[in-house]
Amino acid sequence: MSSLPLLQNALLVGAILFSLGLVGILARRNLIVMFLAAEMMLQGISVSLVAWSRYHGDWGGQILVIFVLTVAACEAAIALVFVLGAFSRTGRLDAAAWQSLREATLGRVIDRELPASDTLPQKFPTLTPAGVLPETDEDELLQREHV
């Protein structure tokens, strides 16, 4: 196959991989899938870099790919640490569990409301109070039940 159609085909594959990754990182809510999508973007870029490198007949693009892979590994490692920490804290991989930092004027994204009776503060009529009532983080309660 001559070099120009080869380049075009490889660039097409690269562009498709890249756009799939971009859509994934924008649209998915699972933290692991989001990072997988970011990796897919980088793989698409690697494909097109190698294609350009072959088309121009020099090694520059391939060397770039080696560096990209290294950086991608570092990024994935650190991202997985965060995901693991997030999972052990909230017990879920949903990105919507993490929305306590936001503009004061913006509301929280809630998938389905609980019936109003469930959101009332619990009362313990049969127990005698022992010590002070522990402080509860309202945000944390909400998102455990609501998201």
């Binding site: 870029i45 520059g60 990024e75 650190i78 965060f82 997030a86």
Partner: protein, 548 residues
Amino acid sequence: MNDPVNIGTLLSGTLSDTLTVSLPLFRPELTLSATIVLLLLCRMLPLLRLLDSALVALGGAAFALWYAWLDMQALPVFAEAASTAGGRTEIFSGLLVFDSFTAYLRCILAGFLVLYIVFTKVSGIPDREDGADFYSLVLGATLGMCLMASANHLLMVFMAVEMASVPSYALAGILKGRRAASEAAIKYAVYGAGAAGIMLYGISLLAGMLGTCHLPSMAVELGRFAQAGAPGGSVMVLCLGGLMLAVGLAFKLSAVPFHFWCPDVFEGAAAEVGAFLSVASKAAAVALLIRVAYGLGMPAGGAAAGELVADLAPVRHFAVAVIALMAAVTCTLGNLAAYGQTNMKRLLAYSTIAHAGYLMMGVAAAMALAGPKPAAAATAVGAVAFYLGTYVFMNLAAFAIVAFLRNRLRSEEIAAYAGLVRTSPGIVVATAVVLVSLIGLPPLAGFVAKFLVFSSLVQAISLGVDRQLMLLLLVVGGVNTVISLFYYLRVLKVMTFDPPPEDRVGEAFPLVSLSGAVVTALAVPVLVLGIFWSGLYAAAQLAGAFAS
């Protein structure tokens, strides 16, 4: 096509170039790397574990500053520097470039690092256990930022951005026990991974179309494209590549519309981390923006390269349009959004976004002036460099005040600062100095910096290059300065006029204390640089000499 190269001569040539030219000009970065290794080694050995990692890091940063200062001293004076494009030397076979701008930025970054380590040592985050991790991350990120300031190759641009970003993600989450810190780290990492991917795709488009990643060679190729009248399709691809590259840079600069991470990360992470991200990261990002814009828009030899300068005019025009529009939007949105904030760290985050806008205005003016009047462009780059120099003190002082007040009051809400003037007048005066300087009022350093940037805009208008855009920037800059007056002064109003809250936990914060001394040491230069600014100005002009 290629001449046969003897592998022996190739190796010995590379070796001698690396050993005699590159490595001596790379001493600050080498010092930082050695310090990171030392920090991690110290923790492994039983006796050395007793050594405080802040001291090790401080020693390393001081050495790096010393070497950066020596490199700065060794530069030719301004008149000579201007004729030799800032003493430009390509090192490591063209991956990096050493010139007056590199030397100046490294001085700024290393100097910031010294102040920063002292500040974090006093403020108590990180604690002793986390110290080695924290400081090796900080030094590693600074190493990446030094590379950002000297990048001369798109591979290096990408690597440097990642080297600065990846440790920053970890820094944002350094307070492992706090939920908000984890959230900040996750948001920063997701956003950063996406932005890096888009930037890299832009790099692959540009590099593929032009057949090289070396910025000066890319400028030559671009000039050839422009002269030959390239077909519309390839111009589209080049523009797309440039815009995607700009996405990555805008993420680092926290420029609108890629600023969403900034307020959340600043609010969630510790104030100490915010200080690092808002000063060092921003300075390096501005430097990288100048490097990339100049690398693609001007030939390496400066104005001496003759007709290539004229050929590259469309590239420069494109860069000016992108940077100027982004600057205008960034500045306006940053200032407007800061207005309604109740959390001091979030307010400062929007304030840094707005300042990124002012800095980009200076870069846009420099790019507009680069073709018709290189000497004025050098002055404009010098103005941006001066702005960065004063910004170190202003913003580090602002975040230091937030951190120390947090230690006393257990709160970072603006409302918690009410009535501070009755118990701790000294800290209120220091805050006033810093905030008024951030507004840009005389006689403080922020005024001089802003004045220099606006005067380079005026120069571009008077020369009539990209006149409408420059006029727009000047008006937007002026209006924004007025807007910013309100939200900075609101903080001071709360501190002085409002009655103190009933349930205040903290005690008074005297300026005569260790933390007070740090605040004073950061706030006094803001005042002094506003009056005696000629020294820093001369250094900044020397930094800009590479552009003439």
